[in-house]
Amino acid sequence: MKLTIFRIVAAATMLGALLSCGSKTETNVEKGNREQILYVANGSEPRELDPQLTTGAPEHNILMALFEGLVNEHPKTLAITPGVAESWSVSDDDKTYTFQLRDTAAWSNGDKLTAHDFVYSWKRSLMPNFGSQWAYMKYFIRGAKAFHMGETDDFSSVGVKAISDAVFEVELENATPFFLKLLVHNSYYPVHQATIEKFAPIDQPISDWTKPANFVGNGPFVLSEWKLNNLIASVKNTKYWDAANVKLNGVTFFPIEDQQAEVRAFRSGQVHVTHTPTMAIEKIGYYQENEPELLDIVQTYSSYYYELNTTKPPFDDARVRRALAMAIDRDLLVGSVSKGGQSPGYTLVPPDPQGYVAKFHFGYDIEKAKALLAEAGYPNGEGFPEASILYNSQDDHRKIALAIQQMWKSSLNIDVGLNNQEWKVYLNSRKNFEHEVARAGWIADYVDPSNFFEIFLSTSGNNHTGWVSAEYDALIQQMQEEAREPQRFELFEKANKLLADEMPIIPIYYYTDINLKSPSVKGWYGNVKHSHPYNRVYLEEVKK
């Protein structure tokens, strides 16, 4: 009896303690709105915060706050605006760019930022032993490839020079109309030489300089805390040249890789905004119906497609490839399967409202597809060899592959299997050409169609189709040397038509970025690069 009473009292006390200590506390969103600190759910833990070493989007999101390149992008139109460079001029042959650096440019420790810093940083990323995976993006610069390949160790042979402390000059191999757009990528950011050399030689990538205690950057914010798998916090950099116009006092990033946990973090007010490419697919419908004002769906300059292994029959026959491409109902896919507001894709290159929009589309045509398949020797799918769609284990890829499998069965009467593999295994299989059909995606490094077309050069390591075309290679070569826009657009269209005729890949849709955003976040606009410069973002409490 006494025992029972004792136990009941104990249970009641525990419950009471649990309930009482769980009273409503201020959420991060409320606190952030008050203190002008932006909280971001940023996907996976960053590997590194060294701008010349990182490869991923989560790292780039953070680096955009901590560093600034020669130029910036307008948050809405992505037009190039001055950054560290207050002005620039281009030579008549479009090959030499001269940048005038502003004299208020400074590092977060007060040191002046000069053209020599850019020379040092770009040299570092091109050093052969350094291992920067983005070094190839600098090959547009004269002599850069030779230096990176180790053909010479004299950096003065590369077209990167500090004419004076405030003047920085770059010479290109060819006229490259999108060169300025490249400069917003983190591999072009400057790094602080003295800090780096305190911890490691120029080409030693493993170093402690990015730890908060040692960190020096030139961006609107400076790194203040980095707790592994927990958070990365930055505070306003008072030495930033435009600090007077930066309204936020800090940005804190949470590395939340689990999509469900990310949605929960947003719902409970732990973060203002999610900054990952997509969100938990089953939650999209809920928000579209009930709270569409929180959903931020943006068309991006990225393409989702299937790569066909042209070294394996019957995929070596272009008619088979075209038949498969035409038998997919893409409107159904984006409307009912992926449901994220994506656009159906009939060309490799997504449309760029500010630039090139592909003209030729091959279209959804079951009759034509059937005819092509019959012509290739498989009337009504008879005799079609075993094949499967390879994709990495993720729910959306599975749903799309399943839908396409069904479409091919019902319209062409062929049986294609599904093969899902864990990410690294999938990468490996695709690299070793073990697939017949493999899912792939490409997010553009810079907004120019050449970035997509170059994937299918015969020498490209990103070409998992085995498709080799001298005509295509020559076309791309021409593209790289042509600077005038109308002529470039003509070349793009030619390449587009060639890809449609040969169909080594089947375009499926163009990605959208689907994010959740609190209404108190202002100055954050959708654009095709999912790029949000923090120096123009601010928080304003929304009156309910």
Binding site: M1, K2, L3, T4, F6, R7, A10, A11, C21, G22, S23, K24, T25, S44, E45, R47, E48, D50, L53, T55, P128, G131, S132, Q133, A135, H148, M149, G150, P205, I206, D208, K211, K227, L228, N229, N230, L231, F254, I256, E257, D258, Q260, A261, R264, A265, R267, S268, Q270, E422, W423, K424, V425, L427, N428, S429, K431, G441, S460, G461, N462
Partner: protein, 310 residues
Amino acid sequence: MLKYIVKRLLAAIPVLFVVILITFVLVRLAPGGPFDEERNVPEQVLENLNKRYHLDDPAHIQFFQYVGNLLQGDFGPSYKYPNRSVTEIIYSGVPVTIELGFYALLVAIIIGISTGLLASLKPNTAQDYVPMSLAMVGICLPSFVLGPLLILFFGIWFEWLPVSGWGQSANDKILPALTLGATYAAYIARLTRGGMLEVLSQDYIRTATAMGLPRWRVVLVHALRGGLAPVVSFLGPAAAGLLSGSFVVETVFQIPGMGRFYLQAAFNRDYTMILGTTIFFSALIIVFNLITDIILVWLNPKLRHQTFKS
């Protein structure tokens, strides 16, 4: 007793060696390497990376190099996080996981023992059936279901507790501890009930009651000690389970513990991280089992004499 402990620890060394060997071989057998990325890595960069991390040496050389470094306390650099060593990462994650495990164990012991005790006092009545059915549900409900359910109730609907994080806001340690501890609470409840039922039917309990001792004294002082024996021997595997169960809970609640690093390392093929965390967990489990054995023996004077004097 000291001789016993030393003997056990020495016997653990070959066990650890075998664990290292098997893990080393298995991670390298898995397709995909640490530097495989979606974008093609230029040949030359890959070569440099492999050279820097000695991945181009023959496998047995790599193994002996690794063990050699290990003996000097160096777990190596992480392949995925180049500016952090494995030791650093383990040091940042381990205290968190151990704290989580400790709170979960507390939850499991307190809820489990009290529920089991209550149930054993009035067997085959409502006081027995209700807690034991709940225990059954607790055992069957996996943590990745229970966690989000608790988050939904307490975090989102009632807004009483935070939904993720560890140490960032007050009370964010409650839900993870509850989620992780719940399954073990259920097991411990059933074990306590079983153990207590057996002890309560013993002669010496009847003697104590007959001698006029109050019921609470009979149960808590005399019966519990023997009745908890199955619980204590369960604590070893429970500790192991708590450590590995923490992986799921850490992902659901975004806790910066070892479990999440371990999972990420496996996906990233971060060889050194995988090896480092495996060794660490194995060593912990060996130590926990040793402690459990010692406690078990200490609880029972008959065994104490047998084990330590031999």
